[in-house]
């Protein structure tokens, strides 16, 4: 952008130069300073017409730069016609009467005819007016414009250099008509602007154009020198060499060799510059790719120096640690470590520098990280040592594995629970069978001894064993079904469900003795899974009935439900045995029976309750009352399918 802007300035500079030279020359011609003309005739090499033409071209280029399209074209038309006429006067030997049309020179510096411009100047006017006109019309550079600019530059530059090295033919194509150095400078400025501004559209590289321009100008100058030399030889009949060898052949050899060398040099420069550009582009591309990979990596990538100062972090680090890159770079890597790593890290580094013994570098391990908010999390850390030209740095790749760790932990817990379940079931399944086997042996004894009353009691014990076993197996079936069953959410009328659950308990012993009240509002509904919900309510109620206090004069159970903070809260409270404080931590655990003297349960009831509630996204709680227990479940509403 800035480069482009500076080339636009070149455009303006060329225009202003032409206008300035043109206006100055016109002023000089009109003021007729005779003394000055006698002392410095070369100042008057540029004719009045030419000065006017340059002013017009300069103005047109300036207007084209400012975005004018038609006006510059209109301005260039007369300049082009003038160039054609001026050139044809030389070629055809005619006088079109244009030389003194606008101004009669007060002085003649020995040119062919007063006010007549040189043929090369006329040609350059044609070329430049065409180029500027095209530039204005097309609003951009083109191959034709560049070619026109090329030709103009070579002619004008040759003339200019001709002045410098006193090679007359370079500016005097025809005797007594020469391109003045003012004109030459203006043409050079204009052609540079035409060739080099806006080359992006044509696809040429500026350096290439400049090199080719330089080469061509050089070759033209050489050719001109050669021609001039030949002309002198012919004109004056002299020979620059005493031997029979033609000096021109020597010179032409030199021209050829130097030209070839120069050309080869330029080709070499061109090729190597292109290669360098391509390599730079490839490098930028691969750097960009690498940068994009690092910036978009899921893992955090950090580099530190030998003292532990953070040199760079990628965006993933911001997500993982919660710090912005500015907060991390320049600080010590310790900031991302919790204790004891935080304090020990300097020691690790110096120990590594001293002994070269790596504990993490090149190995990788699990470690802990500290976020900006102070929370500590598990991470996977891989560190590499990089020996760079600027010294040694360390790169670390950090992966947040807290989720994986949590999953691992959950898996370990689930597995432990499963193992416990297998152990306990194997024990609890065999225990009524072992007991029944013992009772069977006793029964046989009793039968032999004829103790029929005792036998009847023993058989009753066996019956109790088998119903216990059956109850346990039913519970295991419930757990499995709860785990496997996939049921849809439904709107459940809570009052009716509780009433049904109470009705279902009527076969239990002592049921009649207990006052059970359903306080659940009739209109209350919850969206949940009906079978699981039934298991939960049935469980809470049967517990309350089983563990009522036989000594209590008025055993009572109250069921209440209400919505609280978007969740359904259902409570079952009783004035029963309660749970002794020492055993409360065992509530809701697998195979825990808390009432040894009333241990007719499987020890799975509250475990099933908790699992079912959790499956519905809720929580199960226990609250001790002054007398008895209050079991509470809190459930969120599910979603209707």
């Amino acid at each position: 952008m800035t480069l482009h802007w500076s080339w636009q300035k070149a455009n303006v500079a060329a225009s202003l130069w032409c206008i300035a030279v043109g206006v100055a020359m016109m002023a000089l011609w009109l003021s007729q300073p005779v003394d000055l003309a006698e002392r410095h005739p070369f100042l008057f090499g540029m004719k009045f017409n030419a000065a006017l033409a340059f002013t017009v071209i300069g103005a047109a280029l300036l207007l084209a730069t400012r975005g004018f399209q038609h006006l510059p074209v209109l301005m260039m038309a007369p300049v082009f016609v003038y160039g054609v006429l001026a050139l044809s006067q030389h070629l055809l030997g005619i006088d079109a009467g244009i030389d003194t049309l606008l101004h009669t020179p007060f002085v003649d510096i020995g040119t062919s005819l007063p006010g007549r411009i040189a043929p090369n100047t006329a040609l350059c006017f044609m070329l430049m007016s065409l180029a500027v006109g095209l530039r204005a019309a097309q609003m951009k550079s083109s191959v034709v414009q560049v070619a026109l600019g090329f030709a103009t530059f070579i002619i004008a530059a040759a003339a200019l250099i001709g002045y410098a090295i006193a090679l007359d033919f370079a500016h005097d194509w025809i005797r007594f008509t020469r391109m003045s150095f003012q004109s030459a400078s203006c043409f050079v400025a204009l052609s540079i602007a035409i060739v080099f501004v806006g080359t992006e559209q044509t696809g040429y590289h500026r350096l290439t154009l400049a090199a080719v321009l330089g080469l061509l100008t050089y070759l033209i100058l050489l050719a001109m020198s050669y021609y001039e030399l030949a002309r002198y030889e012919a004109a004056f009949g002299i020979s620059f060499s005493t031997n029979s060898n033609d000096p021109r052949s020597t010179l032409s050899s030199l021209v050829l060799i130097s030209g070839t060398l120069y050309g080869a040099l330029i080709v070499h420069l061109y090729v190597s510059s292109r290669r360098a550009r391509r390599m730079a582009a490839d490098l930028a591309e691969s750097r960009g790719q690498l940068g994009a990979i690092i910036d978009n990596a899921v893992d955090g990538i950090i580099t530190i120096d030998e003292r532990g100062t953070i040199l760079s972090v990628n965006p993933a680090c911001m997500r993982i640690f919660g710090y912005t890159p500015e907060e991390m770079t320049g600080r010590n890597i310790k900031m991302l470590m919790p204790e004891p790593y935080h304090s020990a890290h300097d020691g690790y580094l110096s120990n590594y520098h001293r002994t070269g013994e790596a504990k993490v570098i090149g190995i990788g391990r699990e470690a802990e990280g500290r976020r900006k908010d102070g929370s500590i999390f598990a991470l996977d850390l891989a560190i590499a040592r990089l020996e760079l030209a600027g010294g040694i740095i360390y790169s670390g790749i950090v992966r947040d594995i807290s989720e994986r760790k949590a999953n691992e932990q959950a898996l370990i817990e689930a597995n432990a629970e499963l193992e416990e379940f297998a152990y306990r079931t194997s024990h609890d399944l065999r225990s009524p069978i072992a007991s029944s086997m013992g009772l069977l042996t006793i029964s046989r004894d009793m039968l032999e001894d004829g103790e029929l009353t005792a036998l009847g009691q023993t058989l009753q014990r066996m019956e109790k064993n088998f119903s216990r076993l059956d109850h346990l197996i039913q519970n295991i079936i419930t757990i499995t079904r709860n785990r496997l069953m996939d049921e849809d959410d439904q709107a459940i009328a809570l009052h009716a469900l509780v009433s049904d659950a109470i009705e279902a308990l009527s076969h239990l012993e002592d049921f009649k003795r207990i006052r059970i009240e359903n306080h659940v509002p009739k209109e209350l509904t919850i969206v949940s899974k009906p079978s699981k919900f039934q298991v939960i309510v049935g469980n809470m109620l049967s517990n309350a009935v089983k563990y009522h206090d036989p000594k209590e004069a008025a055993p009572a159970i109250d069921v209440r439900a209400f919505r609280y903070a978007g969740r359904m809260r259902l409570s079952v409270e009783d004035n029963g045995l309660g749970v002794p404080p020492a055993s409360r931590h065992l509530l809701f655990k697998m195979f825990k029976r808390l009432h040894p003297n009333r241990s007719f349960g499987s020890g799975l009831g509250l475990y099933i309750l908790r699992k079912s509630v959790e499956a519905l996204g809720g929580t199960a709680l226990y609250e001790a009352r002054d007398k008895g227990s209050r079991f509470i479940i809190e459930l969120p509403d599910g979603e209707l399918p």
Binding site: R430, A434, S435
Partner: protein, 125 residues
């Protein structure tokens, strides 16, 4: 040697009944003391030391292992024969129980006269 008293620690009423019946049948003169969990057993042991203890592992409130820990820690004098009586063998449980110096045997339910004979032999040894 003759066993004079046995403490049965088991939460299951049926198992208690089987133990008591089997012991009576084996030797009616043995005094049977009953505890339904570890805590109750400790209370009894504070008062007297029986010749033998028959101990279940899976019990509510205080299980067999918790009882053994407390019994090892809090008591200087232990019953000469402590036998584990459990409904299922799991290698781990057996090893763990046998680490206590006073645990002498590990039986599987139901209790049989042979078990009592072994215990009497151990008491004599």
């Amino acid at each position: 040697m003759k066993i004079h008293s046995i403490l049965i620690v088991d939460d299951d009423e049926n198992d208690q009944f089987i133990c008591e019946y089997t012991i009576r049948k084996f030797d009616a003169s043995i005094r049977v003391i009953k505890a339904f969990d570890g805590a109750e057993a400790l209370d009894i042991l504070h008062r007297e030391t029986p010749d033998a203890i028959i101990l279940d592992i899976n019990m509510p409130v205080m299980n067999g292992f918790e009882f053994l820990d407390r019994y090892a820690e809090e008591f200087e004098v232990h019953a000469p024969v402590v036998a584990m009586l459990t409904s299922s063998h799991l290698g781990k449980d057996r090893e763990r129980a046998m680490q206590y110096s006073f645990v002498k045997s590990y039986f599987e339910k139901p209790l049989q006269a042979d078990h009592l004979r072994t215990m009497a032999d151990l008491l004599g040894a």
